[in-house]
């Protein structure tokens, strides 16, 4: 036990003392903060797109175009299309597009509508404009068929969607946007760090092998101790990095950012799309909800609260932070241990880095797949569906899949089961990896194949 501790110390210290470690530890939070500041500055600067409408049809379509969050319609300069176009090009502030209804435009032959803009009009913007035009023409048609405006208004459905989360996660609100962002963020962290530091383990092992220090080491310690010492030492490096980032990010966002953002209205950083998740501690029917109605909620999330200085951390208020941090650490460590054991076995089996490629493939594939599939199944699909369930149970995919599910809330029994399976998984994988490792580290100048590797597993000590 003493020896493995010595190995852990060496692996940890040699990496933490490197300049590159310090640089990354300092730079990453700065970059993150910088990006956040840039995004919020850009967001607060830009309002909805301004679209000028030139209507030569005589149908007054323009009057029926309703503004949305994304688009603000203004009448174009009266006159011919060419005049309107000239005015559009000179317009200040800039207008996003010029929408033109030509003279021949009619309700029965709705043709010839054009969007003029400098450069390409994004698909999203086109869709928004098309929706507004469709709605306007629909209204005009209904009016033509003799319906009163009042009736038309009544016919239009106004659905207000509220998703109620029935978990017992506390009486706080959160919103789907933050939850999804959190899920992305956490899972990509797990994915990246397993990858980056797993490869570091592999490098370290093959370095020891090509340095020829292996024989000296193995005559002092057991191969398993050497392997686990390296894996755990590097795990320590990652955790230190996380801790530094957390502290630095907290420092930057609570001390530096408010100074930089002092004059800006922190308005548009959060978009809820009107779908607000209400936690059960404030039951939907109780009068308390009326006081904190959805509109109020939105404001509460995004604007400074009394006695609570604005920080990006306030968006995390509604999330199950405790279980997210705990779960993240557990699944990161579990996944890292499982994958880095495999990386260590690869490093031991090959003589130099270039040979490692062929063995990297079967290790990286489940890692990459679990990330891609999880995004589709969990974030774009159903976070609690059967596929999501199985992905978060299989030890090879659960570190990423489960972390992705965490912000959405996961039943305790699933967490326990998946955690237990992950532990079983990494013990099993480590056992197999250690058997390959102990043979591989002393095997030089041999072209290693898969069948060779499988034979090593059954070698006697």
């Amino acid at each position: 036990m003493d020896k493995i501790w010595l190995i852990i110390q060496r692996e940890y210290l040699t990496r933490v003392r490197k300049k590159s470690f310090l640089v990354i530890s300092l730079l990453a939070p700065l970059l993150l903060a910088g990006t956040t500041i840039a995004v919020s500055k850009l967001n607060s600067a830009s309002g909805p797109d301004v679209v000028a409408v030139h209507d030569a049809s005589g149908l007054q379509v323009a009057a029926h175009l309703t503004d949305t969050d994304e688009i603000h319609f203004v009448p174009a300069t009266p006159g011919t299309l060419a005049q309107a176009q000239a005015a559009f090009e000179k317009a200040k502030p800039k207008q996003a597009a010029l929408l033109s209804f030509p003279a021949g435009f009619g309700l029965d032959s709705a043709k010839g509508t054009q969007i003029l803009a400098k450069g390409n009009v994004s698909l999203n913007r086109q869709n928004n404009i098309r929706k507004a035009v469709n709605k306007a023409i629909g209204e005009l048609k209904m009016a033509r068929s003799g319906l009163k405006q009042e009736t038309i208004d009544n016919l239009q459905a106004k659905v207000d969607l509220a998703a109620i989360n029935l978990d017992e996660l506390g009486g706080k609100r959160n919103d789907v946007g933050t939850t999804t962002a959190m899920a992305y963020f956490l899972s990509i962290l797990v994915y990246m760090f397993i990858f980056i530091y797993g490869v570091q383990v592999m490098r370290g092992v093959s370095e020891e092998k090509s340095n020829r220090i292996m024989e000296v080491m193995i005559s002092s310690v057991k191969p398993f101790q050497l392997m686990m010492g390296k894996i755990l030492g590097i795990a320590g490096v990652v955790l230190t990095q996380f801790a530094l980032w957390l502290v630095l990010s907290w420092g930057i966002t609570t001390v530096v950012m408010p100074l930089l953002l002092k004059n800006d209205k922190p308005t548009t950083t959060i978009t809820t799309n009107g779908a607000t998740v209400v936690r059960p501690a404030a039951p939907a029917s109780s009068p308390a909800v009326a006081a904190t109605s959805p509109a109020g909620d939105q404001a509460a999330v995004a604007t400074p609260q009394p006695g609570h200085p604005f920080s990006i951390w306030s968006v995390l208020d509604g999330l199950p932070i405790g279980s997210i941090i705990g779960g993240f650490l557990f699944y990161f460590l579990g996944g890292y241990l499982l994958y880095s054991a495999m990386f260590a076995a690869i490093g031991s089996a090959v003589d130099d880095q270039t040979d490692a490629q062929q063995f990297m493939f079967p290790v990286t594939i489940p890692l990459i797949l679990s990330y891609i599939v999880s995004i589709n199944v969990i974030i774009n699909g159903d976070p609690n569906g059967p596929l999501a369930f199985w992905l978060s149970m299989i030890p090879f995919t659960s570190p990423i899949a489960m972390v992705m599910r965490l912000p959405f809330g996961v039943p305790t029994w699933q967490l326990v089961l998946s955690g237990a399976l992950l532990i079983v998984g990494f013990v099993g994988v480590t056992w197999v990896a250690a058997r390959i490792y102990r043979v591989g580290i002393l095997m030089y100048g041999k072209k290693v194949t898969y069948s060779e590797l499988s034979k090593w597993m059954f070698y006697k000590g």
């Binding site: 000296v216 002092s220 002393l442």
Partner: protein
């Protein structure tokens, strides 16, 4: 030469080791007397490294056993064994001092002791100025010295050196040789493993010859040499040597300028060197007369020729 104590520090009994394709050790038994320098000799691929890896507990034997001071070899003996592998290697990006400390601690030496001893060793081997340098900044010879220090820092009672002098220039090789003798005088036992038999012949008290995974010969060097003496004498002198005698046989005779000659003469059974000398004195002016002692290399080749003629070519070329 020291008097080796009778009790062996290390004993191998019928050790066998098979790898997938070949047999590395085929029933090797030997005993290393405590306080001696023991040569483990044989051509490349004979099985020396396999045996050493079993002694250093890097791998295990398929069958047979290794006894360390009479007890079955186990991990608690690691701290009493020092091992310098043939393939030298250190962590390149680690400082010399830290590296030595690390390796010594892994061998079970307490930190404070290790620090003390590292200072002493670096002083003695002229490496003091390099303690804070990364290993990769050192010359190859200096790296070798550092590795030697790492091998003996924990003051092991059994030191195993695989091809110890390869990679050293003559000056450093002598330095290391002196250190080895000093360690032996302090009571350590040293096992040399090499295929260059002449390089350690003079240092070894005992040897074991290994060929093709079998031990072909072992024992004290002096005894082996006596055993393989062919009763041959080398004579140099002046005059005209003509040997026609039933008791002596000339194996080789060379005439040189100015009436000088060199000859190798074998005595037949029952004849003493003095008989030969008397015969020579009557004929020529004797300038040198000495017994021809076979080198370990010659003995090895002869032994291999006797025991397994089919492997002769490989053994000789090795």
């Amino acid at each position: 030469m020291q008097n080796p104590t009778s009790r062996p520090i290390l004993e191998a009994r019928d050790v066998r080791k098979h790898y997938a394709a070949h047999t590395a050790l085929d029933g090797v038994s030997l005993a290393v007397p405590e306080g001696s320098i023991f040569g483990l000799l044989g051509p490349n691929g004979a099985g020396k490294t396999s045996l050493i890896r079993i002694i250093t507990q890097i791998t295990g034997a398929d069958s047979g056993e290794i006894l360390f001071r009479g007890a079955k070899l186990n991990p608690s003996h690691i701290g009493q064994i020092g091992y310098l592998p043939e393939e030298r290697g250190l962590y390149k990006k680690m400082k010399v001092g830290e590296q030595l400390l690390y390796l010594a601690q892994l061998r079970g030496l307490p930190r404070a002791d290790a620090v003390q001893r590292i200072k002493g060793w670096l002083d003695r081997l002229d490496l003091k100025a390099w303690a804070q340098k990364n290993v990769e900044d050192l010359s190859k010879g200096m790296q070798q010295k550092v590795q030697f220090v790492a091998t003996v820092l924990h003051e092991p009672s059994l030191i195993i050196l695989d091809e110890p002098f390869s990679g050293f220039d003559p000056i450093n090789a002598n330095l290391i040789k002196d250190e080895i003798l000093r360690l032996r005088d302090q009571g350590a036992t040293i096992i040399f493993s090499t295929h260059r038999m002449e390089s350690v012949e003079e240092l070894c008290d005992n040897i074991a010859l290994i060929n093709r995974s079998r031990k072909v010969l072992d024992g004290p060097v002096s005894q082996i040499k006596n055993q393989f003496k062919t009763n041959t004498y080398e004579v140099e002198g002046q005059g005209r040597l003509l040997v026609v005698h039933p008791d002596f046989e000339v194996l080789e005779q060379k005439e040189r300028e100015n009436d000088h000659f060199f000859a190798r003469i074998q005595l037949h059974a029952g004849t003493t060197p003095n008989d030969l000398l008397r015969f020579l004195i009557g004929q020529v002016q004797v300038q040198a007369f000495r017994e021809r002692i076979p080198s370990i290399n010659e003995i090895f080749i002869q032994r291999v020729r006797e025991t397994m003629p089919e492997s002769l070519t490989e053994a000789v070329t090795a």
